[in-house]
Structure formats: C-alpha cells, structure tokens
Symmetry: C2
C-alpha cells in the first residue's frame, strides 16, 4: 500500500518555489470559482503517519487559499478527550456537524478514519467490528459522492526510521525541539501495529469515486506540492457540471510523481548470479517447491501466481522454471492478451474467474487482471472511471480468493530500459526469436514513464496485506528466477503455517 | 419490509389475459432490441418465500420471451448438494460462470443471496459472517452495475398462513398433490426464522442502482404481471445509452400496484373510542411513558419519533399528547418543511443529523427525512436517482442511530380521503383554523394515489427489523392517539428489555 511512498521522493528548493507560486494562484482561483458555482463541496481528509507532515500540509492549504472559506476541523478520538465525546450520538454525528456547504472546502484533520483505526490498533475493537465500521465509512462516502461532494483523501506516509530520524533532527535544534514530545516517541512504538491496520483501511475504502492518494512525507517540498496539486485537480473536477446519476463522477486520476522517481527506477539492478550457483540453487528451490505443494494441507488450498512486467522482462522463461517443479496435472499457465469478443461482452474480471484453480491446483497468469490498470489505462482502452474503480474491484477479487484458501502471489519482473533495449535487439537479430518482437513493443517502450507511473499507482493501491506485490529486479535473469522461486517458497510456507 | 405484499393484491382473470397479451409482445420486442444493441446484460434474481411463485414466474418468463437468449440457472446451496460445491473456489465463482453476456438475459433462481441467508438461518454462519457476506454481495452488484449490467431483483413474498393454505389447496387436488412434498412442509416450519433474516438481507442490499422489488405472491395473475412489467421496465432501461460514470444508471422506479390496492386503503378505519375510555387510557399511558423514560437505563439511550401522514392526519395533536407526558428539558419537537438555502447546500440528511437527541433525550420529527421519498418524489423536487437511493441511505442512517442506543419509532397516521375532506372543510369553516389550510393542501389531495403508492414503496423498503413502521388508522383521533401511545410504550419497554 505504501511502496511508492518509501522511495524518498524529493524536489529541490528552486523547483519548489516555482511550483508553489503557480500552485497558490491556481488554488485560489479555483477556490473562488467553486464558491461562486455553489455546485459542489470539497472535503479534504488528512490522515497518515504521525510526523509525516499532516499538520504542516493543513497549515499550507490555509495559507495558500482564502481561509475564510475553508472550514478546518481537527477531531480527537472520542476516548482520548471527553470534550469531543458524542454523548450517545452515532459515531458519524460529529462529522455531520461540520460538513462544508456547497461551494466550500472542508479540511478534516482527524476524521472518520481515525477512531476505527485507533480502536482496532489498541485492541478495543475486534477485527469484525473494524470491518463493520469500514463498511459504514464506505456507505457514508458513497452517499457524499452521490450528493456531489468531492472527497480528497490524502494519506501521508513515512517509514518508521524516517520518522525517528525527523524527530531526532527536530530535537537537536533548540528552536524546534519543543515540537517533539514524549508522547510522539511513545506513539512511534506503535508504528508497526498501526501501519498494517491502516493499510487494510485504505484497501477497503479506496473506491473509484473516493480513492486514497498516498504521499511520501519525507521531503516537505515534495509532499506539499503533491498534495496541493492533487487538491487543485479535485477543485477543477468539482467545477465541472455534476449529474446525479446515482453516484458522483469519478475522482481525478492519481497525479504523476513530481520528481519523476518511480519504484521501478529505484530497484537495485546490480545483483547477479554465477551460472553454477544458479543451477545449484534452482534445483534445490524447485525441489523445495515441489515438496511444499505435495503437503497434505495443500488439498484444501490453491495457488494463483501473477506475472507482470515490461515487455521482455522474462515472464515466460521464469514461469517455465516454476512449471518444471510441478506436476502437469495440477497447474495451468494462462497467457493473457487483449480480450476477445465474448470476453468484452462480460464484466472485466469475468475472463479470469474462468481460470481459477480448484483446491490442490495452481494457475499461473502470464499477464493478468492488472492489464486494466496498466495497458488499458495507458493506452486508453478503457475509460478513466473504469480503471480508477478497478483497483477496488481487484482488491475485492483477491480478498475472495484469499478467503477461499487461495494463496495469491504477484510478481513484477522489473527490468531497466537499457536492458530492455538489449533484449529487443537480441530478439531482432536471432531468427528463432524475431517473432517475439513487434512494432507494438517499440511503441510501448516509448511510453515507459507512463507505465512506470501506472506501476507506482498499482503498487500503492493493490499491494495489500492479503496479496502483496513482489518487485523483482530482473536485469540478471538468473538472479531474478532464483529470487522468484525463493519468494514463492516462502509465501507457500507462510500459508501452510497459518492455516491448513 | 414485506408490508405491502401482505394486503392480498389481485387482478381478475380478464384483466390478466389482457395485460398478458400486451406484456408478452412488449417483452419479446424489448428482448430482441437488447440482443441487437449488445450494450448491456440483464440479470434477473428470483428469490423469496418457498411457495410464493418463484418457479412459476421463471417458467412464465421463459414462455413469454425467446428462451434461446435467456440463460436460466438454478443453484442449490453448496452444502445441500455435492455437485454444485465450489471445490475450493470462492463462493462467487459459480455465479461468474453463468453471467449472461451483453445483450442477453440471465435468470438466476437460487443465487448469491440463497446461501448467505440459509447458512445464517441454520445457525452455521454467525451474524457477523452474514453481514460480511452481504457486504461482499453489495460490492459485487456494484461492480456489475458499473459494468452496465442491469440487475432485476424480485422477492416473492407470502404470509406463513398464505403458504400453508396454498399447500393444502394443492394437496386436495389429485392433479396437483405431487407438487407439495414433506420437504415443503418441513421448510415452512422455518418460515419465522427465514423471514427476518431475509428482511435484513433486503435492507442491506437494496441500493439505488439495484433495489429489491417485493411482490405479493398470493395471486398468480397479479404476481406474474407485476414481475413481467418490472422486467419490461428494466429491459427498456437497459436499451438506453450507458455511460461509465463510475456506476450504472439508477434502476427504474418501483411500479405502481396493478390493482390499485394500497396499504393505506386496507387499514381498518372503523375502530373508535368513547371519550371517557379515551381520557382514562390517555392518562394511564402518559404516566406509563413518563415512568419508562425516567428509568436509569435511559441515561444511555435516546428516542427518535417520526410522524408522517397525509395533511390533516393529526400529527401535531398526537405529538402534543406525547409531550404532555415528558419533561420539557428532555425533548424537542422539530417541524420539517421545505429545506432552506443552507440546507439545500448540504447532503440531504444533514438537516436531520443536527437535531438528533443526546442520551436521555427525545426528538420528535413532525414530518422527517421521509419527505425525500414522499413529497420530493411525488412533486419531482429531487431527481429519480436521488430518491431511489434514499431508501438505502435512510436505512443506513437509522441503523447508525440504533447502534448508538437510539430507539427509532416511526408512525404513519393514516386517514381516509373522506375523513381528510371533512377535516379540510372544518378548517376552512373555523376562523382560528383557517390558516392551517392552503391551496397546497388541496393540490396534494389530488395526488392521493401517487402518495399512497409512495407510502407502499416506503414501507417495503424502510420498515425494517431495526426500525419498523407503525401504520395507525387515524380517522378516529381518540383511537389513534391511544394506539400511538400504546405502541410507543411497548417499543420503549422492548428496548429496555434488550439492552441498557
């Protein structure tokens, strides 16, 4: 959920100054237009890790726009402070009291996500109650969207180490030392409990019309411009005519990263493996996998593998290294291309449901349902509302798989642009491989940054507690294959440990 | 939930024959147009009480339309029959296999509602698991709607007595005796367990884009034409252009009852109360209510009363009989008129949230949020998608109230058209009452059948397990006031018994 927010996004001081000047003016203009149009309200939810810049961002928004028309509200959890206690009112009552009217912007700092996450993390609410509350939140936000409210959900993220480093830096300087309290350090201890629970909350409530935007909080400039730009996108969206078609228009798509940094560009591509080591490890891992999948517990479990990656990343050859370890009666490899006519006449996920493995079986998807948020998104093969709601539908799909006992393991085989070029050229110069390279491959290559951006969004929204993504640097094929097999064995072992 | 389906709707043989001939042709035409347009698929869910005509309706649909383009599927619950067991696939897997492609009609007889209801009724699934499954169903249907699938959800209802009577009639005739098995009688024993669980399922899954239509199953002709006509409405809706705006267009509104019968017309208006009995009972009930609301448990409970009814039904005077029993510091009466400008700038329910009582307090709404599905619907003050989604939002709202410890008691004070005329005339002829009658009142009176229809739909969709409606015949003011007070005391007593 937070992958792309942990790669240290940043922009320089000069770039910040320039972007800020333009952004401020655009925000102010959009705010006044919204006020005049009176068509829709905008609600900004500010959540995330403590120390990742939530308060600073709220302050900036109030500085950049006209604060007279912004209603900023901070809510503590009812337990923490008697004053905010709802006195027997439903939990949502407090928020109904501060909804901004049409034309206005409301910033809710501490909101309907805070208490459910806190109560569950502290062990006061069981998982089933937490789920129930998230369901209520979904219904509430759905109603708001249908009423024309534009929801801007910002999640500021930082690694635990990043937060600790920031606290220490603040403490060192006498001028800022006061900003870090014992309470802050105390709360940091709970980081590891809060983050997975938050990830679940994000997964369950990132819908097509009200998705979460995860923002790397480590660089103040990057974080401020990213948040401000996304707010601007939403204000502009809120100025467009709104038709009550049962539900609000889709939210704007996630913005491209300001600094152009991407998860794919920040992998370590230098690791290699000698042939002899590779062959030795390959054989051992294949044996381990084979044995694991013959465990009696596997009679009531199944395995779904997803392979995605740029063209020529080595998906096919990696899959072959896995199938070598399996009994042919128990697996299927499904290559996924453009949908045929019968598939286009069905809901998007239909064609994948057809190939789900029964207990004891494995299906390997060579490309998958993620095409919706990769190629279909980038090439415009589906509409924006279609791919923006796909993240949520995919998460629901994978949750159902998981609940049925299926282990879902997703690999992104990641190669650099240089390595891809090498492989393309090799294919063109090798007679028996020349059929593997098409003009489409070259065209896709030109869209590399768009794909990289789509991958970041995909990781943020679909690398979940129940079905995480594994990004495997694959410039070195041997290293990559061993890594995939190793990760796969580990995931299967973990699954056998927890249930079966 | 099933109120309007228990008043014995029926149409005569001749009316049936005429309607059937027209309907068949229209259905067939619409079916072919759908097939040609290939824009959307239509899925009909057939559910309800056993013996209320589910199978017969499915047969009729296949007879009326071209069965080559209808895919009819019957699903048993996985437990009941080994054949259909999903072999480790997610529960939804079976249904994905039979989704009709665009242009086609699928009839699912036994579907994604069957197993959750059965498993919970048999005690295999706990309430929290049941809720979870309903949440999954909502997400699934939402995806289908967003994909352009038009969902037609039919619930056939009959009273337990009605079913028993039908079984006996079938058994008596040697030609039909085979249709009733020991298993049918066995299942009828569970009627009282199934119905409230079904009601909850309907409440949780009746959304703006995929609402349930509850159909009185007691008269074969009425039930067939009602179901067929609603299917036709949906087919015609499915022919309209579909824009992927995040969610499918709203479903067509519920059709008016064929026989013109309404809940309001079938109340018993003959009961009256002598003045002396009335005064005696009034005093006793007011005392009982006062005592109940001073119970210490009430310190963590609250009370919301909703009064709705046609003009001059006696809402105000009834409320006064209740307030006489209460401490003025602990209640508020909120008269609800057309929303003002500030209220129109907020989501619809906003203005009611403002007046929710805190613990120990009571709010009485003289008209309420139900205006959305009554006057706003009938007068066209809001769009059709707005009022069709309101049922679901209102149920979610009342569920939150209930969870916060609020007892929600809703009264429809029901008068006949004749009685209303008498009261209007009395108002016009009484100087100190003449201000109470406006041209609007006369205009509303002309729309009586539209309001009666809206009331039936409101009862079907919002008289729920957590917040049932009480229809009180109010032609006799004294009888009505006593009845309201009596029901109110009972509801408060029941609440004190269960929790506090």
């Amino acid at each position: 959920m937070f992958e792309s927010a942990e790669i240290g996004h940043q922009i320089g001081r000069k770039a910040y100054k320039e972007a800020e000047a333009k952004l401020r003016q655009a925000l102010l203009e959009a705010q006044y237009q919204l006020l005049e149009s009176k068509q829709r309200a905008v609600i900004v939810l500010v959540n995330g890790v403590d120390g990742a810049g939530k308060g600073e961002t709220v302050n900036l928004f109030n500085e950049w726009m006209d604060p007279r028309h912004i209603r900023t509200e901070a809510f503590a959890t009812p337990d923490a402070s008697g004053e905010d206690a709802p006195l027997g009112h439903p939990a949502m009552w407090r928020f109904w009291q501060v909804l901004p009217p049409k034309g206005h912007v409301g910033i809710l700092f501490g909101n309907w996500y805070t208490d459910p996450i806190v109560q569950h993390a502290l062990g006061h609410d069981k998982e089933s109650r937490f789920d129930e509350r998230l369901t209520e939140v979904r219904a509430f936000e759905r109603m708001l969207s249908a009423e024309g409210v534009c929801l801007v959900k910002l999640w500021f993220h930082m690694t635990k180490e990043g937060v600790a480093k920031r606290f220490k830096a603040l403490e060192k300087d006498p001028k800022t030392a006061w900003r870090v309290t014992a309470h802050d350090w105390e709360r940091l201890k709970h980081y590891d409990r809060f983050v997975p629970i938050s990830a679940k909350a994000l997964r369950k409530t990132s819908t097509g019309e009200a998705p979460w935007l995860v923002i790397d909080g480590s660089d103040p400039g990057y974080r401020a411009i990213t948040a401000g730009q996304y707010l601007l996108d939403n204000l502009l969206r809120a100025l467009q005519p709104f038709a009550p078609l049962g539900i609000g228009h889709a939210a704007p798509p996630p913005p491209p990263p300001l600094d152009g940094r991407s998860l794919l560009a920040t992998q370590d591509y230098t690791r290699t493996l000698a042939r002899s080591t590779y062959e030795d490890q390959l054989e051992r891992l294949q044996g381990r996998l084979n044995k694991l999948l013959r465990a009696p517990e596997w009679k009531r479990r199944s395995l779904v593998l997803v392979f995605e990656g740029m063209d020529a990343a080595g998906k096919g050859s990696t899959i072959r290294r896995i199938t070598q370890a399996l009994d042919a009666r128990h697996y299927r490899v499904i290559p996924v291309a453009a949908p045929n006519e019968a598939e286009r006449a069905q809901p998007y996920l239909w064609r994948f449901w057809r190939y789900l493995p029964r207990w004891g079986h494995t299906t390997m998807f060579d490309r998958s349902w993620y095409g919706r948020v990769l190629v279909e998104r980038v090439e415009g093969f589906c509409s924006e509302p279609d791919w923006t709601r796909a993240y949520d539908e995919i998460n629901a799909f994978e949750e159902q798989l998981t609940q049925a006992g299926t282990v879902v393991v997703k690999f992104w085989l990641s190669i650099t642009q240089e390595e891809q070029l090498k492989r393309f050229e090799a294919r063109q110069n090798t007679p028996h491989k020349v059929h593997k390279i098409t003009p489409d491959d070259w065209r896709n290559r030109d869209k590399w940054p768009l794909y990289a951006h789509a991958v970041d969004d995909m990781m943020d929204r679909t690398s979940t507690d129940i079905a995480p993504w594994h990004i495997v640097a694959s410039d070195d094929k041997r290293w990559s294959r061993i890594e995939v097999l190793r990760l796969l064995c580990e995931r299967v072992e973990a699954a056998l440990d927890t249930k079966g």
